[in-house]
Symmetry: D2
Subunit: 483 residues, 4 copies
């Protein structure tokens, strides 16, 4: 078996023995927890669509190791076409789930490591790449979901890792043993962590020699001993506990993020992919970041959902033909497709690395992600404009069930004679979900900070621009001869 | 007694017999309901600050009827200075509550009616103004909170009131009796409805003769027989039920909005302020809207809170000196003060109406509100940028109390050596509250639609501009002589 | 005579003996030079309108020294009302001239000096204020146009004045004599310099003790010996030499800016208003800058012209009813009126200084000017959108006169059956003038840099905000107790 | 010879006998006219770079007709790679010329006709495609510059062609002869018209049967009898007559646009590509527009120049390390690269048409062009911010040559000790040229209206979006079942 079905995926998660806390209590049954389950459903969609004939071109790939058909989320990009399909896969899943489907982070970690382990070996004569390829085959053959973990807590932002008052603010080696290493630290904001079979750790920033104990990369099963997950809460998370079919907005899907604590966890040598080669930490960060910034293609798909919802709300409100409404819909689409241009362009302008892996154009991937920190907010604002104020003053679905209030809601929230009031309420709850609720945390705030905050992209843009060429051209045109 | 204390206000509410539904059930004790209470607290702040010497200049006024010192929220503006103080009062209360304090809508209704009842009488020889002044004195002497209710459900947006399939989609007279009238309909999005002693009804749009039964204005006690309130729910509303002191973000204050249903309610003649004088409905709408658009001065105060929170988060994160952070803080302030300029300018450019009431400059009030539909969204985006991703991945406060998880949270979410982790969590929860949670519904969505959606302001701007003057100037300068 | 007519103003200029260079040659007759004359016409408008009964309330004031009626441009603001009228005067003249009318800079210098000379005297027991008031009376009685000169060339931006390789990069005292001082240096970007009777010099930045020789302020007749003017050129300046009545866009008015060189110029003591009191240089800079940032009220008037021109172009093109055109016109107005709110609010929130002079609210004046660095660019972009591409592909007016080409132009550039093609060409040339031509240098670039570049306003906004108050409010609301 | 050198191109133009008017007079020697010559230089660059080995991959292609190496500007795109290279060619030439190089419009016309003539033949059994291919070979073998002419004067915008009071407001057939047709009308805004060997006419909008006489497409030599060119004037055009080497900003290159009048011109049958097949006019318009909207890739190259100039100005001013300057440079680059993403993505998402020609993704090409109507204005605004006010107050270069003024300019405009004042003046003049002068007409206004005004793109975006798919996704996620 190289590709699990959604059902097999769910079952495989049940076999894990994760230590997960939420609201101060240990979660015994992670898979069926009503707050976590929608996020599992979203990951499951990445398995399900791989079996749909109309999506298989996008969702699957041929392993360059085994030649087997595999889920694209476990694939190492072998061509420009692969990179472009990755962007399209992100948009597709964003549209089908309306949220963060979490699985891209592992794909991006695998691809980044395929490049960097190769380059480390080329310089140091190490064997990381061999190890990595073996591990990759294991992931591909088992069709695992992998959490790619980069962000350390960081403690005092003004200090490098080795100068932190608490040395654990960055993940580090605390012991080297005969059969492996022992690590300590934590990774914050881990998307989809408790829906993953594996977790890959990478350093969070460029490091110097003094920080070499922090320049480490490795993989572990998600339920390795010593790993603890503490779930982050989201806006409107507890609506999922209310047992209805309306107020949560998105009835099936969601995302989650967790703090993952590593309390002296043992990593066997065959899962160690970088150890103290600090001079490669910057490359690993930038490579992973570039791939992951491309991955924000998914927000184009979520944007599709929000645009579709806004158009539907306009129709239900009976105002879809007003010129200002049509103009706002065009603007939402224009911004959303501008984002699409970014994730396509950074892919189509990709290149081959020495390892054979294809990498996106790093400048354009950063430009793309930087727009993602802006446009979803404006699309969201326009959606709220179109939706109308009812979106935030709508009574609960229980009021729609109670005989004393249902009659008033059905009477007074009816706008279009052919549309049931319930439909109008459903679509407004979806817009609320995407602009204020659980999905807003990913469509907005995660768009801001995921794969690096805006300033990180600005620094990369600054570094990757060929300013000399621009200045040469300008000086020549106006007659400045500096020789 | 002309000015209640906050305590007296709370007690006065307990004496009301309101019919309120929420989550499908009737609320027996409205004042102490944990979801509603924070909104009551916010209104109570308008009473409390009127007794603070440092705020009395802003918070109180001298009644032009009785000469008594009254709460400014019951005052009819007698000068430009009054109008300017109204804007400053809004900012003050926005800053002290961090939410919608709900009481301005009644003040704006009273002022609009003081103008329009006078003008109707001047044309029709009616006695609305006399009635109104008597009612006003009653409100001032009792220091009532008044809900000013304008927005009808509207049904099919393409049809005028009298052509609606359901005639109740707009509030209308169903019977004229000897001692008064009977009305039927509903008002949606009623801010602070269940914290009010009185409710004033106004028509929702400009009407023609065929719609004269809908051209009505009147006042009622909030607990008049036949009135039902159905509470709207807000993002994260149920966090208030969790019993903590952190996750709700704003620990004391909130807002609420409700659907108010009038099921054949009787209004005695002395509380009827307009009846079928359809040609004045447009004036009443525009006058109320102009005052109420000015009232969005409050969002400048909420902006103050969000800016203060963002600056604090930056300090707690240890990044407040980074140039990009400082620049974003400046931008937030610049936008917020630009809003302030709008609410000050429309006041200082106000004028005296025939009734003696001072009215804001209608063009500039619309310009101000239109900026309110934009800048809070950008200020909010910048706040999320500064806050960092932790704002949406933070575990619950219960995780901070549980011994198994508290140690990890305190260790790994500590950023600045002198700041307790709890402080950092508190401030992030406040930013979440303002940009995604309960207060986001008022700081963002209500800023969009309250006092009229953006397109309503654009229409008014278009109408109030002196385009002829601009074209005359342009033609003269370039030598076009059309004579 | 305390108020000259436009004609008297022109004659008074003829009596000056200015040393003016342009295109490498000395201008013998400045007043009649075809490139300079339109800028003189614009200043003359400030004299002309003061005699129009409908404008006298705005254009004139009562001198607090003599009680005479004077032109407001020579007035020291005695009330909030004066400050508000100043903003309205700026808008009026911007609308009537469509360009920079140049005279505000002297008004702003006089007002700033009225405050600072008073404060210096209060500290040092000097007599600057007495001198200044005497000088002011002279200016008022003669109704002079005064150039207020602040911007030094600045040389190496990283060095303070006293460390510059060339000490003359900042204006400084080179000799103190019995009867006065000798100064050397230059002032750049001097608006309306050669249309002025007087020039007032102020330091360009905050200074320390080492720079005390640079902390000077004084006034001179514009034709004092040793002063040389070198005219700056503007986009499309030479169209004024072509002798037509169309292609220059604005047929009558323009602005100009010049480099003013002071080559060891003598200043008698009674015209010295600051000498080495370096600790007041910052106050003088900030006070002048605040007044002058308010003065960008004028751009609202220029915006009126551009909006009027865009509307006219739309009508001539026959597209004024298209919803997207109407929407763009609304947006232009909205932005323009937002600017208006800024210049009104900073005036109406003004305060009285110890000298009795009223000063604008410095925070809001900076906020206003900062918006001026943005919105005119967007208004201009929208005007170009509405105008259509013909604005930049229109043949010359000579082609309209030549029989071989006139027939084609009249035939093919006719859009609306009732509008002569010439009218359409005229209005397009005006839009070109305002967005690319001579007036664009003031409507756009001067809006950016005049009265300080954007970053200068950001620094002032940062300084003037009460951040402590905002943080206090935020912390209180979320329960942070730092005591 | 299939590829001319720049010199051969210039000589070939001398052999034309064009009827060109400018400033009301016939131009006898077009090639050497100082106002026109810079535009010829820019076109010549398209010939020159095709012979540079480092650019030949981008600048040349292999003809699918003859197999010869040809200039890409005469090529029919045979692959996605061809489309991508077209975008890169546009950026390259924009950067090397800093202006509009004019030749893309013919390339786009040829490609659009290659598709549409094929499709007409398929429906009507006509022979347009055969004719077209023969003509294409002629263009390729002679390496001609072709003007693609679409925009008619349009007269009264509310009327279709056949209802215009003046029937010539749209190009139409006035006579059909045995050997060809006679046409009348005009094309406005013709970029590079007098630098072209050939001109291809296309209809300007979608037509109905009543307008079939206007549904025509054909090619003519640019000097065919009956064609008259009237040059449009540009901001600062006459600076080119001043004989200097500084004030024109861009010393070598420019663009031009002209009104082209067809006064009963004969077209032989072998050059007629559409005649009355009105139902294909919309396709031809949309196809040409899509290609031409992609062509605004050139503005990315002009943006490179402006960014390079701004960076250079900052260095010369000595402020390049200030954080706000660096941030603005990043923003300029970010916007410019976002545009690049658009022109790359619409190419890489292209597809093959029945004729074998590859066409860009029409939705994304429109999205790209729509951003071009916005971002260059903001990049320009930021460039003016960085440049400083001196950009619009700088004296003329003659003042730098005159001994009386040169000393002051060299002294007072020196900012950085190692940079000659002349260099600073040169770079500021280039920024003036790009933001206000001759190049601003193309970088700004032509970016707005070229290849269709913004509203045209919005309409196309609206048409090309798959809204049903978005609504399906939204409804499914929130549980709306409409079946």
């Amino acid at each position: 078996m190289t590709m699990m079905t959604a059902g097999q995926y769910e079952e495989s998660l049940r076999r894990l023995n994760l230590v997960v806390y939420m609201f101060g209590k240990r979660i015994e049954n992670v898979v069926d927890d009503p707050i976590i389950r929608p996020s599992m459903n979203a990951v499951a969609k990445t398995y399900e669509l791989a079996h749909h004939p109309e999506h298989e071109d996008i969702m699957t790939a041929t392993s360059h190791i085994t030649g087997n058909t595999i889920n694209r989320f476990t694939h190492i990009h072998q061509s420009i076409e692969d990179l472009v399909k990755k962007s399209k896969m992100g948009r597709l899943l964003g549209r089908e789930t309306g949220c963060c489907f979490q699985r891209c982070v592992g794909m991006d970690a695998l691809n980044a490591l395929s490049i960097v382990t190769f380059d480390i070996d080329a310089k140091h004569g190490t064997e990381y790449y061999t190890r990595f390829v073996k591990y990759l085959e294991y992931v591909q053959e088992n069709d695992f979901t992998v959490d790619g973990a980069m962000t350390d807590p960081k403690g005092d932002r003004s200090l490098p890792p080795h100068k932190q008052p608490d040395p654990d603010q960055f993940m580090h080696v605390v012991e080297e043993k005969k059969d492996g290493i022992v690590v300590r630290g934590a990774k914050a904001h881990q998307t989809g962590a408790v829906n993953s079979h594996e977790i890959i750790i990478m350093p969070t920033l460029s490091m110097r020699e003094e920080d070499k104990d922090y320049a480490i990369s490795f993989a572990l099963p998600s339920d390795a001993e010593g790993i603890t997950y503490i779930m982050g809460r989201q806006s409107c998370d507890t609506r999922k506990l209310e047992g209805g079919t309306m107020d949560q907005g998105n009835l099936l899907f969601g995302g989650h993020e967790a703090l993952v604590v590593f309390d002296d966890v043992f990593v066997p040598w065959d899962r160690v992919f970088m150890l103290k080669e600090y001079e490669f930490s910057r490359q690993l960060v930038e490579q992973f970041a570039a791939y992951h910034r491309q991955s924000y293609a998914c927000k184009v798909g979520v944007g599709d959902v929000l645009i579709g919802a806004a158009q539907t709300a306009a129709e239900y409100n009976g105002v879809e033909k007003a010129s200002h409404i049509r103009d706002k819909i065009v603007e939402m689409n224009h911004l959303n497709e501008t984002l699409y241009c970014g994730c396509i362009a950074c892919a189509s302008e990709g290149h081959k690395e020495p390892s054979g892996t294809y990498c996106v154009n790093i400048l354009l991937a950063n430009v793309h992600k930087h727009n993602v920190t802006r446009f979803p907010y404006e699309i969201s604002r326009l959606a709220q404009d179109i939706a109308g104020g009812l979106m935030v003053t709508l009574p609960s679905e229980k009021d729609l069930q109670s005989p004393e209030t249902a009659k008033w809601l059905k009477k007074y929230f009816k706008a279009h004679r052919d549309i049931p009031t319930e439909h109008r309420m459903h679509i407004l709850r979806l817009i609320e979900n995407l602009t204020l609720g659980t999905a807003a945390t990913s469509y907005l705030t995660e768009s801001m900070h995921g794969a690096g905050s805006p300033q990180a992209q600005r620094i990369m843009i600054s570094r990757r621009i060929n300013m000399q060429e621009k200045q040469r051209a300008a000086k020549k045109l106006c007659g400045i001869d500096e020789t």
